[in-house]
């Protein structure tokens, strides 16, 4: 279609970053005051006293704030970002605890001092008295509801939601075969290498607040801060600096620190900065994944699912600022590429005295995928069928697209798949991993006393979620092209990807295109970066904006060159008559001509001044329906999400003695529509797979019964090093275009993580011959599982 779309273009972001010239949050505002927080050491307690007197002798101390210092709007609970009719008991935290704490790490007091060391000194010397209350930890305790997290929330139940398509109970009752399974996934977390951070600067003269925050949504933060501080939107700008990873956790907003820091900066008249430390990130940001599921499935002799009933319990932690997105995503995306004749899903979203739960890359899909794919494997095992055959028989066929599941998706719109070719994906993964040739390998290994196993897992991911994004493209008189979109970047290569699209549309070298994301000074309307949506949403928006700019440039050039616009093209930054390189004028010159001038600011500008001649003297210099400049602004708002898909397959070896689990091969086939930059997409897959492996084999949030997170450090939370990831991630792409956007693309950011736990559980089950129903699984858990199933241990 064009020169850069689909090319492995080297990232434009990297030169700065490899030189150490990135500007992450804590790199900014070196002379700011520093904020530190007193955080609850108790999972559940009443605060009976806060004595700050011991802190007052700390040098450099500037201010100490507790709940009682907060003005009216800040003294209210933080917003419930995504309300839902089923969320009958939504509770959100106060910026600083109001008499009660509900998880270890909840903020109680904010200290502002000359630097972080001194702020922490003072925080340590603030004496908070507590009356501990019983802690509700884990889903079993939440469901039992012997104790309550919030006194006014019976049964610890924030929400109960049911969706159904068809008569599931009747379908299961009528089925020849029925299976029941209990399936569980534990907590993990996004865990970006850079934690959260906020810097705010209030300018008293202009009554204007500028804040920098390590966020996935600068416009969301801006609106929330303006509301909380009683400012107009025009008085607040939010700039997203370089962000050291997000993976979901930074879409939550406003964090307590994001409203308290600007508030303090305004009160004190000095810039204030908060930089989260690693322990704080573990105990004061957000986790995800913890869910228990019960499946009832009715199926026929061929393995076709006639009725699928899934009841699950979602641990939402102490508060639900992000609403029910994670369990809604599980309940809808669980279906993957399949079409059960009838489906019912019901979930409870339950409070516990633990860190709140909000989307982490995959956002409920890894759990849903685990449930569905384990069910598929269980059906195959029960019928003695090949696992791929059962899947194939349940696939939605390409001819059935668009496919309506009769459910409501996380965007509030019908769950309708736009396109996809699941049988083709299955063929590709079987070829890639050598599915049909595995049995003899396994037999040979077994003869040597080795245990190897193969497994696979399919997923469908709703990406490019609305409501909209926008883009702005302006051609400078230098010929440089400046692009802005409002959503933010956390390392996904958005600047490169968007520059590729704009360079193609406008016919300029990519080096002349500069892209800015997440800066409200440049683009004020945006939603944010989540749900694998940037390429689809902002990619489409900047493409449309670039088309507008191009149309304008051709029109202006056509006037100047006295030819028809239709006869012109732009190539290499020159506007020329098609096929005639000698006829061209530069895009920069066209930009000059597009802006009728009175004053010449440089030599080039003279051409556009009032005595330069040319133009129709009977008409105004700028037509009534026109504007000066070569600019384009456009918005993209699709009718609904676009659905990417894929299949992962893994081969593992389990040690008969130590129960150590080694990944021998890891294969991915992936369909995110047309690829803009395969290198970036593959990078996203690599990273997702590593997180999937972490979630399957290593990562868990180890809470004790008192609600202490006992592994809140990188020493104890086992995030994969290179030694834990597959030696190679073998990737094959399928490109099924989406009909829902001008580029035919689908999102790619999250997919890599989704089927990890499911595929690895299947492979371990195949190696061991024991059902694996709970993830993650450690060697000691596998060892215990063997014992529970009566296997001899050597």
């Amino acid at each position: 279609m064009s020169s850069l779309f689909g090319a492995r273009v080297q990232r434009v972001e990297d030169d700065r970053l490899v030189r150490g010239h990135g500007a992450y949050l804590d790199d900014l505002g070196p002379d700011s005051l520093a904020a530190a927080f007193v955080r609850s050491p108790h999972a559940h307690a009443r605060i009976t006293d806060i004595d700050v007197s011991g802190a007052l002798d700390v040098p450099g101390l500037v201010a100490i704030y507790t709940y009682e210092d907060l003005p009216a709007r800040l003294a209210e609970p933080l917003p419930l970002l995504i309300p839902h009719p089923a969320l009958t008991h939504g509770r959100t935290p106060y910026p600083l605890a109001n008499g009660e704490v509900n998880h270890v790490g909840e903020a109680i007091a904010m200290v502002v001092a000359a630097d972080r060391y001194l702020a922490e000194d003072a925080a340590d010397l603030i004496d908070v008295s507590y009356e501990p209350l019983p802690a509700v930890v884990g889903l079993d305790a939440a469901r039992a509801a012997v104790h309550l997290v919030h006194e006014d929330v019976p049964g610890n139940r924030a929400a109960n939601e049911v969706q159904e398509h068809g008569d599931t109970a009747a379908a299961i009752a009528a089925a020849r075969h029925v299976l029941e399974l209990d399936l569980e996934i534990e907590r993990s977390a996004s865990t970006p290498l850079e934690g959260r951070g906020v810097l705010a600067r209030w300018d008293e003269q202009s009554q204007h607040l500028v804040m920098w925050t390590s966020t996935q949504t600068s416009t969301g933060v801006r609106a929330a801060v303006a509301a909380k501080l009683g400012l107009d939107l025009t008085q607040v700008d939010v700039i997203t600096p370089d962000v050291g990873g997000g993976f979901g956790v930074k879409i939550v907003h406003p964090w307590p620190e994001e409203v308290l820091v600007p508030w303090a900066a305004r009160l004190l008249g000095r810039p204030v900065k908060f930089t989260e430390d690693r322990r704080e990130h573990f105990i004061a940001s957000a986790h995800e994944r913890g869910q228990q599921h019960h499946v009832s499935v009715g199926y026929d002799d061929e393995g076709r699912i006639l009725g699928l009933d899934v009841r699950f319990w979602h641990d939402n932690g102490a508060y639900v600022p992000y609403g029910l997105i994670v369990p809604i995503v599980t309940s809808t995306q669980l279906l993957g590429p399949y079409k059960p004749a009838a489906y019912r899903v019901e979930f409870d979203s339950l409070y516990t005295n633990t860190v709140l739960v909000t989307p982490y890359r995959g956002a409920g899909r890894p759990q849903g995928c685990f449930v569905m794919e384990r069910t598929m494997d269980a059906i195959a095992a029960a019928l003695g069928l090949d696992r791929t055959a059962v899947r194939e028989r349940n696939f939605i066929q390409p001819a059935e697209m668009p496919y309506d599941h009769g459910l409501i998706f996380q965007d509030g719109r019908p769950l309708i798949y736009d396109s996809g070719d699941y049988p083709a994906l299955l063929t590709k993964i079987k070829d890639l991993v050598g599915w049909d040739k595995f049995a003899p390998l396994k037999e040979a290994a077994s003869a040597e006393g080795r245990r190897i196993g193969i497994g696979l897992a399919c997923y469908v991911e709703g990406t490019g979620v609305g409501p909209y994004e926008g883009g702005h493209v302006v051609v400078e008189t230098s010929g440089k092209v400046k692009v802005a979109t409002g959503l933010t970047s956390q390392g996904q290569g958005h600047q490169t990807m968007l520059a590729q699209l704009v360079a193609d549309e406008l016919g300029v070298p990519i080096a002349d295109v500069e892209v800015v994301t997440g800066d409200t000074r440049r683009f004020g309307y945006a939603v944010g970066t989540f749900a694998s949506r940037t390429a689809v949403m902002s990619g489409s928006a900047v493409t449309l904006a670039a088309r507008k700019a191009k149309e304008k440039a051709l029109r202006v050039a056509a006037d100047a060159m006295e030819v028809a616009a239709a006869d012109l093209e732009i190539t290499g930054g020159m506007v020329q008559v098609k096929g005639d390189p000698d006829s061209g004028i530069s895009l920069g010159t066209v930009a000059v001509l597009s802006n009728p001038l009175r004053y010449a600011f440089d030599d080039a500008a003279k051409a556009a001044t009032q005595f330069a001649g040319g133009g129709d003297m009977s008409k105004p210099p700028v037509a009534p329906d026109d504007e000066p400049g070569i600019e384009g602004r456009a918005y993209f708002s699709p009718v609904r999400s676009t659905f990417a898909s894929g299949i992962h397959a893994a081969i593992v070896e389990t040690d008969p003695d130590t129960a150590e689990i080694t990944i021998l091969r890891y294969c991915v086939v992936h369909d995110c529509g047309l690829l803009i930059n395969p290198q970036i997409v593959e990078g996203q897959i690599h990273g997702g797979v590593a997180q999937g492996v972490g979630g399957a084999l290593y990562e868990r949030m180890a809470y004790d019964e008192e609600g202490q997170l006992v592994n809140a450090s990188f020493m104890d939370f086992l995030m994969p090093y290179v030694s834990e990831v597959p030696r190679e991630v073998e990737i094959d792409h399928l490109e099924t275009p989406s009909p829902l956007n001008p580029l035919g693309i689908k999102g790619a950011g999250e997919a890599g993580v989704i089927p990890g736990a499911a595929a690895l559980a299947a492979a371990i089950e195949d190696a061991e011959g024991i059902p694996v129903r709970s993830m993650p699984i450690s060697p000691s858990e596998l060892f215990e599982l063997r014992r529970a199933h009566g296997q001899e241990t050597r």
Binding site: R19, A63, P192, G491, Y721
Partner: protein, 197 residues
């Protein structure tokens, strides 16, 4: 809460308590002599970032596990969050800002990371770049196992390490290519396949 209550918010004080005692630290950073006056407890990572204002060195965990803050101290890769600044007095330090040549040419490791998509968010990257720079001095032509060993103590949450490993190999290759092209026999060797430099 009554006594303390009045003191909430901005803390009014007749006189500021005495500040912390400061110590002078003299170091050579990226070839330039630098001096900082810091409290005894100041971490070297914080000194580099906030006192010397070289913010390319990042802090990911402050307990020595992630490796983002790795610098070269007298040529050896060390975690600057595990050292006190005062203990580095007299040391020669290279941070990520000092890896490129004085004329701005990227070092082989930096160039390899750019070519191989060895970074995404870039936060852990400075620690990898310094670690691999030292690693390739010790093992100029690492095999796969040695490359994995070289980066085995650094955490990255974005890349899944695949392209970082590719970058290690490519950096070794670039080093050889540059050595070949700058040597007198460059013209002869350019035609030959890449080998040991």
């Amino acid at each position: 809460m009554s006594a303390a209550e009045e003191l909430r918010g901005e803390v009014p004080r007749a006189e500021e308590p005495p500040p912390e005692e400061l110590h002078e630290v003299r170091v050579v950073v990226n070839g330039a002599a630098r001096t900082a006056r810091v409290p005894a407890r100041r971490l070297l990572s914080d000194c580099i970032r906030h006192d010397l204002r070289l913010t390319g060195t990042h802090v990911g965990c402050e307990h020595g596990v992630c490796g983002a803050c790795t610098i070269l101290l007298d040529g050896a890769p060390v975690r600057s969050c595990l050292l006190l600044a005062v203990s580095a007095d007299g040391a020669d330090i290279t941070t990520v800002e000092g890896l490129a040549a004085p004329d701005g040419t990227l070092s082989p490791v930096q160039q390899a990371f750019s070519e191989c998509h060895g970074l995404q968010c870039g936060f852990c990257t400075p620690g990898f770049l310094t670690t691999i720079t030292a690693g390739l001095r010790a093992v100029a032509d690492p095999d796969d196992e040695q490359a994995r060993e070289m980066i085995g103590g650094n955490l990255c949450r974005c890349t899944g390490y695949q392209n970082i490993l590719a970058s290690v190999h490519r950096a070794a290759e670039i080093t050889r290519e540059r050595a070949a092209s700058s040597s007198p026999a460059a013209t002869k060797r350019a035609a030959a396949p890449a080998g040991h430099a």
